[in-house]
Amino acid sequence: MELADQDLVSILAARIGAAWPSIARARTRAAEVRERLAVSISDHTSEDTSLVVFGSLARKECTSGSDLDWVLLVDGAANAEHLEAALAIESHIQKVAPKGPGPEKTFGGLVFSHDLMHYIGGGDDTNQNMTQRMLLLLESTPVGRTEAYSRVMNNVLKRYVVEDFGWMHSRNPSNVPRFLHNDVVRYWRTIAVDFAYKRRTRAGQGWALRTAKLRMSRKLTYAAGLLRCYNCALEPSLQGLDRRDQSSAALPLVDFLASQIPITPLDLFARTFLTSDRLTQTAEPFFGAYNEFLGILDDEEKRSRLDSLQYDEIAVDPTYQRVRELGHSFQESLNAVFFSEQNHAEFFRLTKTYGVF
């Protein structure tokens, strides 16, 4: 069985004797939604088009209030029927998940492979293009035909590797794809900056819920992006690659990075905890905090409360305060993974080497 097909969170829970029912429930719900989408939408995808879903559905963290971010990814000759397919998909999706993409309109509609592949950095790499590209790499999954999705993914990853001068010229002994790593970090910082922007432009509406997501699910996605990069340094098959033949040297790394894409952020961390004995003690606080966070999102009353909370209420609001505590606990767990030489000397070294400068 492929690693991506395994429920590594359940394997970890069984290993350490823990139970994370909200995570399990969210996974079951995600599987149901994906199944319903696959049945209703597969006919609208083709060898050149893939329906790609993002966010909680891609992470397998669906709660009762989850929205559904999607795009119809086109990688092929221009065709007027692509728009009709996108409209048909939108119609189906509204039946499955009434809460659609957000007001920024980053999702919901057609996205073309050329923009994702060619505009990495520079003025044409808009906030929207970068968000679509990074979420494609960090938390996405195709529903229906997968060919276009896989093709675009491999091409985007290849750009990050081939244009990584240090990696291609063996000046990066740790094997970490620095160009990709920098873009993952840039994306996280952009989310954080946009958080302040949205607070201002939306006059505080939904601020508390966005804070909770920033501290938990968005941070998880970012941290999993770091893991995907740092795992390149740990992967035995990537050690000692002959990079004298530069034209072919990139492909093993692209292949490895692509193999990690289908693994959800939670499963990536579960695998880390399963393979690093000294990190086992961190698994319970990490997944425990995340489990409780998903439980709050799945509680309609609490979620609704967070969504409507005003600034002057947060100091006395128990749900907000609990989410805040969970955020701190989750952060401490991440610190234990990335910033503890005792727990994981290699992650500590890589974080120090690449994390800031």
Binding site: E47, A77, E147, R151, S247, S248, L251, V254, D255, A258
Partner: protein
């Protein structure tokens, strides 16, 4: 030195005699006799059994790309007569109805990886399923199909990593997004060089490029694409 030559089907479709006439005087030592349609097969078998093709070091036969289930045994029996001459048979995996019919060809059967329109045989994983049913078969690695399926060539890398030891022939051309074979473009040549070192050096190369340029130039382009540094195109630079 890798044997290299053309597919008769690429040059003149079903007119293999005409295609061979085009090849006269061109420096090449391999040929693939193509009968892409079932109707062409009888004539090809008669021609193959009666002709002297000793000017070629390597000869293979491309089986029809499509036939009905009730034609499968007949098609296989006809191809077996050509296979008996030591000529490998190249077969599209999506044409197969019953794998047992083809198992007896053993290592003489070469399964070709498919373009993006097909539902089988496109990726390393899909080819694994085919080879589980045809364990002795080799692979005709169609480098253009692999690039069309994944233009980053990551899938080509996966196919060669997983099935490279089965590669006994190469198909080389460029393939458009509409799945039409085309002459080798500079970008195709540069792309193929990325994986050339993973392709067995003794696997004969068959060009499937249409007759849009002179054959010599196209052969030399293919040699460059496959990492042959003795190509006249490089030596002349």
């Amino acid at each position: 030195m890798r044997s290299i030559g053309f597919s008769t089907g690429a040059l003149a479709r079903g007119d293999f005699r005409g295609a061979l006439a085009m090849m006269e005087g061109v420096q090449m030592d391999a040929v693939e006799l193509s009968s892409l349609r079932v109707e062409e097969l009888d004539a090809l078998v008669d021609f193959g059994l009666s002709s002297d093709l000793s000017q070629f070091r390597y000869v293979s036969v491309h089986a029809p790309g499509k036939f009905a289930a009730d034609e499968e045994h007949v098609v296989a029996d006809k191809l077996r007569r050509l296979s008996a001459r030591g000529w490998p048979i190249v077969l599209h995996p999506d044409a197969i109805h019953e794998h047992a019919v083809w198992r007896s060809f053993g290592a003489q059967l070469l399964i070709e990886n498919m373009d993006k329109r097909k539902s089988v045989g496109r990726t390393a994983t899909e080819l694994t399923s085919v080879f589980e049913l045809l364990p002795e078969a080799g692979l005709c690695f169609d480098i253009a199909h692999a690039r069309q399926v994944d233009s980053s060539l990551t899938e080509a890398y996966r196919i060669l990593r997983r099935h490279g030891d089965r590669v006994r022939q190469i198909h080389i051309s460029d393939v458009s997004s509409a799945s039409r074979h085309d002459r080798l473009s500079p970008s195709a040549v540069a792309a193929y060089q990325q994986i050339a070192s993973m392709i067995p050096f003794d696997a004969p190369a068959i060009l499937e490029t249409p007759l849009l340029a002179d054959l010599e130039t196209e052969l030399e382009r293919a040699k460059v694409a496959l990492g042959d540094t003795s190509s006249k195109l490089l030596v002349g630079q």
